[in-house]
Symmetry: C2
Subunit: 504 residues, 2 copies
């Protein structure tokens, strides 16, 4: 009740003050168009459940699909025409508040009018039916797309962009850039020799070097063989698949609430940084030096483990000292849900990380990187398509909407209310809700056991709130950027109801 | 002149007989709609060159792009709105006959009316703005899309499908399926144990096994670390990047013309098959057994090296004998250019290969596979998007057009004329044109030196014919499926002109 009332009055106040804002000056007109856009999304008033989930129609479709494909992870089938805004509607007619958004990949909710408008034009049709091999024959407008869309939200300090199609390919190629740079360093800045090229074709050193990428226990970077070599979140992803056997170090595990464990958490940061140093020395000694470090701002799939600004600053300092590269994987954290376009912007690093990979809310993948990582030869970072221009047409509308509707500020504001609400829930039901951590609306909490976690998410599903999980006991919030106070009020209210029932 | 005249009369005859066909019965109406579609593509009469390529506008755009991205492989910038059918139009207004088609990835040419029609509807808009995480929340129509589109052209004997977004991810995941199956075999069909899972998280055996994939010298399967481990076509792709160090064997190298070297080429097949057997035994002895073989029907990037039906039959027999899997990578060969949807269909294998990967002309990636390779657990073959439904809307139109316009028959017919024409050129200019090999219009020839090859393709470019190369001395033909006699006539005529000049 507590949180519901407080949030209720918050959104009530918001509604009260908005009419006044609407009628005044440029700020007012921005709000007006935002309101107009919001009005055009015909969201349900709240969740409406008519069957279990998966319902009979979903189950039938699952069994049909199973004749062609084994996909045991399917939760339900969706009616995407009927899904609206923050509500996902399944094929059985259940309308659920979506706080998972296709594994955190839907930026503005379903059927957003700005996106529907963006895909209408002839530019989209031309783009879809004439897909270019961008590394050889880009279209006349490609430079403008890169500049006006992707570079307009580039992380500060990173002025180079490589497009890809998914997070996996982005990380694979970003790791290659780090290897290429480290190899150049080992050769004293010189280009590879004919002997390097010849031995590469034979699969031998020195052309195929012994080098490694350092990653962290609990990390997730993708499921190709290179990405699995830096992924350590769940055994089921790894078992039976050979990988590169690269070194792994500890990512900090903090005690919450942070303000009560400042000293302990600082010690944890130091311990983990010292281990990274040790790994770097050990790998050098073993003749398989570390060319770069790959790290998530939050270890999301692994259980939403946050790292402090001090931890990331320390990592960057170590990288600079050893002339190795720092790759920040923002596939899940990038795109605005933390209140900034890139989560690492919250860390106030002395300089930009060397590389930042993205995908998901950015609608297709890619790598932002520093100038000095540019490949010096063609065809080293390359494939048939190297990205897809049609995705940038939609992303353009996403970014314009984020700016027009001031969505990063909204995310920050709603995130603050979320923290308040979760603190109250944690105080009331400490077995159900613990260790809440968040930036913007990118939040998570732990249940005391996996069983309680599953009871909670199952109960929430019945109440019409669709949540995601990660790690063993963690529930993660991954709403769209248009998730506002009225959605948060429903989320918090239902968590209280369902959590209270489990606790009693 | 010779070839030009002969081809000219061929297409003249075609035009003569078509009016009669148009007016009779169901076959006639199919031709009528085909003619209507063909008429709607406003192709230029022939190539029209106004500047060098790259021209001044392309060069300016290259230099602009270079501020954001190092992409040294770009040949020219394209006006995709003006490109039509088999003609690519660059930003300087040059109209070139496109015999490379975006590295073999454009199925029907530019701005095909059937595709422009297909992307118009609300289904496409819904699909584009509500992209699902297909492994968890597929749309209501997903099963129908898979069944009616991808499964409608599945290789005979393969009844399972996994969608992906590119050839690289398709090959990565297909290799994982082979590892998973071989690991199951080593465990005697049992599921992995807790010890397997625990050791996998530690990056140790037995959870992370010592196993390998066999690939071939000259192969190309992609540029991620797993795919680079089975790629051996060019040193520049490999140098500086660590890989898995898996075994490599010889792919046959034939003497041409095939009918004059039957005995020698059979010996070559036997030699290469024996080497595969040796590699399998050696890897078993070394404790890093081969779980599967990955092979292209034609080693395309590596220089368009063909393998005989006997070679592929032999490979399949060896795989069956050793309980390992055969993955045929049809990323470049699939989609119709050989006159069949899948090139391996030409080999008349006793049974289907275990897995077939695709991308390019299929517009997005995927894996067809046998029933017994289905993953027994969720989340092992998985990623955020696992493919993209909007691509199947376009592919549906591609496949319907292939059927409606009888394009596989056209490819076979045009391919036969291409062989005739190339045989004539080879007889006349043996230093310029040698070793022509093809299936359908998927053809290639070798020049006697890299210099002659570059002179030839440069000369052809000036004449308005846009060609691709591969290997060191090879020119490859990769026209769209709508490439017909009138286009072939231009291609052969210009080859004769330019080749003749170089020869003199």
């Amino acid at each position: 009740m507590l949180s519901k009332m407080r949030l209720g009055s918050y959104s009530h106040n918001l509604r009260k003050i908005l009419p006044g804002i609407e009628s005044c000056g440029p700020k007012g007109s921005r709000y007006q168009s935002a309101m107009a856009a919001a009005a055009a999304v015909k969201e349900p008033e709240g969740p409406q459940m008519v069957t279990e989930v998966p319902g009979p129609r979903s189950k039938q479709l699952m069994s049909e699909l199973d004749e062609m494909q084994s996909m045991k992870t399917i939760q339900f089938f969706v009616d995407y025409e009927k899904s609206q805004g923050n509500y996902i509607v399944d094929v059985d007619g259940n309308k659920m508040l979506d706080v998972f958004t296709q594994i955190s990949s839907v930026p503005l909710g379903y059927n957003h009018p700005a996106l529907l408008e963006a895909v209408k034009g002839s530019a989209m049709a031309t783009s879809l039916v004439n897909r270019p091999a961008l590394g050889v024959f880009p279209g006349a407008n490609w430079n403008n797309s890169l500049r006006d869309v992707l570079m307009s939200v580039a992380p500060p300090g990173l002025n180079n962009i490589i497009t890809m199609m998914c997070g996996t390919c982005s990380n694979e190629n970003a790791m290659k850039l780090m290897f290429m740079k480290y190899a150049e360093h080992l050769r004293g800045g010189k280009e590879f020799s004919q002997a390097d090229l010849d031995s590469a074709m034979q699969g031998q050193m020195p052309g195929i070097p012994k080098m490694s990428i350092l990653s962290f226990h609990g990390s997730f970077h993708g499921r190709s063989i290179g990405c699995l070599s830096v992924t350590h979140s769940k055994a089921i992803h790894l078992v039976d698949i050979p990988n590169m056997g690269w070194p792994v170090s500890d990512f900090p595990r903090y005690k919450y609430p942070l303000d009560q464990f400042v000293r302990e958490n600082a010690v944890e940061d130091s311990r983990c940084l010292a281990m990274v140093q040790d790994k770097i020395h050990q790998q050098l000694k073993d003749g398989c030096p570390i060319a770069g470090i790959i790290v998530e701002p939050v270890q999301a799939e692994g259980g939403d483990h946050h790292g402090s600004a001090a931890w990331f600053m320390g990592l960057q300092a170590i990288c600079k000292k050893h002339n190795i590269r720092l790759l920040i994987d923002e596939v899940q954290t990038g795109g605005g849900a933390t209140g900034k376009m890139w989560m690492h912007e919250h860390f106030n690093l002395p300089e930009a990380p060397d590389l930042v990979t993205f995908s998901k809310k950015m609608l297709s993948g890619g790598i932002y990187h520093k100038e000095d990582l540019r490949p010096q030869h063609g065809a080293r970072i390359f494939n048939t398509w190297v990205g897809e221009p049609s995705k940038l047409i939609i992303l353009d509308a996403v970014i314009k909407t984020i700016k027009r509707d001031n969505l990063l500020a909204q995310v920050t504001r709603v995130g603050a209310s979320m923290t308040k609400g979760m603190n109250e829930l944690q105080a009331k039901y400490p077995n159900i809700f613990a260790n809440f951590r968040s930036l913007g609306t990118f939040g998570a909490f732990d249940c005391s056991t996996p069983e309680i976690r599953d009871k909670l998410t199952g109960g929430m599903r019945k109440e019409g709130v669709h949540l995601g999980v990660c790690g063993e006991t963690t529930v993660r919030f991954r709403p769209s950027l248009t998730f506002d106070e009225k959605h948060l009020e429903i989320l918090m209210g239902k968590l209280q109801t369902v959590g209270g029932k489990i606790d009693s």
